[in-house]
Symmetry: C2
Subunit: 311 residues, 2 copies
Amino acid sequence: MKYLWSTIIGCFVFNTNLDIIDNVPFRSSAEYLHREQTEAKLSKKYPDLKPLPEEKIAGVLLTLKNPSYFRAFHTQNLELTKIAIKNSVTEDGFILQTIANITEIDKVSNTLSKRLREWYALYYPELAESVVQQEKFVELTLTKSKEELMRDAKRTETMGADMAKVHRDEILLLARQIKGLFELRRMHEQYLQKVMQEYCPNLLELAGTTIGAKLLELSRGLKHLALLPASTIQLLGAEKALFRHLKTGSKSPKYGILYQHPLIQKAPKQERGKAARNLADKLSLCARLDYFKGEFKALQYRKELEEKFNP
Amino acid sequence: MKYLWSTIIGCFVFNTNLDIIDNVPFRSSAEYLHREQTEAKLSKKYPDLKPLPEEKIAGVLLTLKNPSYFRAFHTQNLELTKIAIKNSVTEDGFILQTIANITEIDKVSNTLSKRLREWYALYYPELAESVVQQEKFVELTLTKSKEELMRDAKRTETMGADMAKVHRDEILLLARQIKGLFELRRMHEQYLQKVMQEYCPNLLELAGTTIGAKLLELSRGLKHLALLPASTIQLLGAEKALFRHLKTGSKSPKYGILYQHPLIQKAPKQERGKAARNLADKLSLCARLDYFKGEFKALQYRKELEEKFNP
C-alpha cells in the first residue's frame, strides 16, 4: 500500500511509514496546474497507490519540513502567485478603471473649463454669462468668432478687449484640449457599454452604463455585487449619509447613486424611496444572473418597474 | 465773462450767475475722450470763455443736479466704465491667466497620470515601478509595446495580464490625452516667454519664465510688483509660513517661490537667505525698469549675483 500526495513542488509517493519512496518534481507551474497527468502516470507505476488519508497529513508535512525543499517551495509559490495576479485581471478591472477615469475626467474638465471661462472673459466676457453648460461653452469658443457670437446674441457691444491673434490662439489651445477630454469621456462610455454588454448584460440594461459601472466600482466587482443584499445595493454611494444617520440619528438615506436613475427621477417624490427599494431588488437579481451567466431578464424587470412607478 | 465746464455728458457754458447759456452734449464716449476739440470750438465762439474756477464748482453741480440730466449721466457712465474695463486688459492679464493655467495643468496631468499608472498596471505593472517621471511614463506607454519594454528592461516575465487590443487601446486613449496636456504646458511656456520678452524683458531675464510669471501672478501685475518693496518680493509665495511666523513665533521664512530659482538652488545652504535677499533686490529693480520702460540691465544683474553666490 502506497500513498500519493501532490504539492506545488511535485508529486510524492509515500510508503506506510511515510518515507518518500518516489518523487516527481514539477519544473514549472504549468506542470502543477496539470498535475492530474503526473498523478495518472504514478498510479500506473504503483498499482496499489491511494490518495493520502487526511489523518496522515501531519506526518507527511513533517517530512516535507526538510530545508532542502524550502527553495523549491519559495520559487514555486512566487510563480503561482504571479499567475494568480495575472488571472485576477478580468472585465471587472477594466470597468472599474474606466468608470474611475470618467469621474476623474469630469473633475478635470470642469477645472479647466472654469479657467477657460476666466481667460476667455478678457476677450468676450458676455459669453460666459449666457452659456452655462461647459461643453457648449468650449464648443462655441472653438467654432465661432466674437463677431458671430455677438450677432447670434443680438449684441452690439462687449466689455471684452480686442486681442491680437497670438493671444486668442493661446486660449483656443486650452479649449481644444478640454474638447479632447470631453471626447475621451464619450469614448470611455462607448467602451464601457461594449464591455458590459458581454460581461453583465442584465445590469447594463437595467442600470444603464454609468450607474451600472458605478455600482460595480462601489461594490468592487461583479462577484461582490452579486453577493450583496439588495438593501446594501440600494444605499451604495450613500455611505456618508448612512454613517451620519447611524452616528447622529439623522434621517436614514433612501438611495445612493441610484438616485440618478431615470426610474427614480421620474417617480413621484413620495414614491421614490419605494421605487429605489424595488429597483435595488431587481438590480441584485441582475447582478446574480450576470455573475452566474444566467438568462437575459433585465428588459422584463425594467418594464415591470416602469409600469409600477412611471405609469 | 463766461465759464466753460466739461462733464462726461457734454460741455457746458455758464454765465457769471452760473446759468447755462450753451451746451454741447456728447453723443458718444469717443466725443468725451476727445473733448479738447469741442472745447476749442466753444472757445472760438465765446472769446471771453474761461475754465471754471474751483470755488464755483459747488454752484455748478447744483445746476446739474436737475433730473433731466440723470439719464445721460447714467448711460455715459456705464459706457465709460465698459471702455475702462476693455482697456484694463493688458499683458498682465494674459500672463496671469497663462501661468494660472500652467499650475492647473500640472495638477490635472498629475491626477490623470496616476490613473493611467493604475490602469496600465493591469497590463504591465512593472513599468510604473521603474519609471518615476510622469511624462516619461506616458511617452513609453504610447511608443513601446509590452514586449519592447520588457526587452529594454531585460525582463522575461511580468505579473501583468495579456489584454485584448480593444482594452489596451482604451488605456492609450487616456495616455494620448495626457500627452496633449504636457504639450499644451510647453506651448504655454513658449507663449509666456514671447509675451514677457516684450512686456518685461528684465524680469524675464533675471527670474526666468515660470518664476517671473508667478511673481506677476502673486503680485497681481507688473505695476504692483514694481511698487512692492524688495523684502516683500523675497517672501512672495511664502505667505503661509510668514503668517505662521507672525502668529506662533516660528522661524521667519527666508524665501517664497524664489526658492526654486537656480541662483538660490546652487548657492551654499548657509548663504541661501542672503542670496534670496540680493535676488529680490535686483528683481525689484527689474520690475521697475520694465514698468517704466527703462533699459535692459538684467543680464548684468544676473552676472553680479552669480559671481557672488555661485562662484
